[in-house]
């Protein structure tokens, strides 16, 4: 993969994340707005560019990895709820990354490799 494509993915990914976060910021009530915190912003940008640059086979593999990652994302959000209640948002939401790592990493090692 060329450095230009990697840079373009990062740039477009950043813009799409900002776009979805603005939609979330305008949304109410807060739980509804929270849906947009877990929007497929990076995925949409990245998969679209992978289709154009590398074709459907590579994109399919990225999407398969993403499906595993999304199991980690569900675990992350559930654990972050428990930890925010006990440790506040900053510490709780960062510590919850361990839940993503455990679930996404575990499922990847078990069935994704």
């Amino acid at each position: 993969m060329s450095i230009a494509l990697i840079g373009l993915k990062a740039l477009v990914g950043g813009f799409v994340v900002v776009g979805f976060s603005l939609i979330g910021q305008a949304g109410h009530p807060k739980r509804f707005a929270g849906l947009f915190s877990a929007a497929p912003s990076v995925a949409l940008a990245s998969l679209a560019m992978t289709v154009v640059a590398r074709g459907t086979d590579a994109t399919l593999a990225y999407a398969q990895g993403m499906l595993i990652g999304s199991a980690g994302m569900v675990a992350y959000c559930l654990v972050s709820l428990v930890l925010i209640d006990r440790l506040h948002a900053l510490v709780g939401s960062i510590l919850a990354w361990l839940a993503w790592l455990a679930v996404a990493g575990g499922v990847y090692l078990a069935v994704g490799k």
Partner: protein, 167 residues
């Protein structure tokens, strides 16, 4: 976990005691659903820059990881919660911990929608990539939105609140 954290770090940034406001959560579930675009006037450029950097950063990590270790490994990071800590911390700072909790509880449903996005894309990519990604986005919207209204209307949010909170 909380006891362990307190023992190791002493006083936490949040003084180790968070009190969620159940009334605020109930009010949240009674508020009408929609978008107030005038709120975007309050969007501060530094906050948007933080989200851009974290979002762009994880897209970069996914691309590099995919290039080095294979696309399936890189794909894991397309569903990594890179921006959520920044988002939740900013919400807590501005509107309090209960609102940050409410945002994260919506995030759980958005994350389930994320799995629907990936599943739809996997099923349809070979047939037509453009249609596949458009329908995958629609799947995310329908699943996460549908679950939101199900949880809201049946009181499942409140049950979840009771189950996961300590107080």
């Amino acid at each position: 976990m909380a006891r362990l954290a307190r023992r190791r770090w002493g006083r936490l940034p949040g003084r180790g005691q968070v009190a969620l406001d159940g009334r605020q959560l109930l009010d949240d579930d009674l508020e009408s659903v929609g978008f107030d675009w005038s709120k975007l006037r309050n969007a501060s450029p530094p906050e948007l820059l933080i989200r851009f950097v974290f979002g762009g950063g994880i897209a970069l990590i996914a691309a590099v990881a995919g290039s080095v270790f294979g696309p399936r490994f890189g794909g894991l990071f397309l569903a990594f919660p890179a921006v959520l800590p920044a988002t939740l911390t900013l919400i807590e700072k501005k509107e309090g911990t209960t609102k940050a909790w409410a945002d994260a509880s919506g995030g759980v449903l958005g994350a389930i929608g994320l799995a629907a996005f990936a599943f739809t894309a996997i099923q349809l990519l070979r047939a037509n990539p453009v249609v596949a990604l458009a329908l995958a986005l629609l799947a995310w919207l329908l699943v996460s939105g549908g679950l939101y209204f199900l949880f809201r209307e049946t009181g499942l949010f409140l049950r979840q609140d009771k189950l996961l909170t300590t107080r």
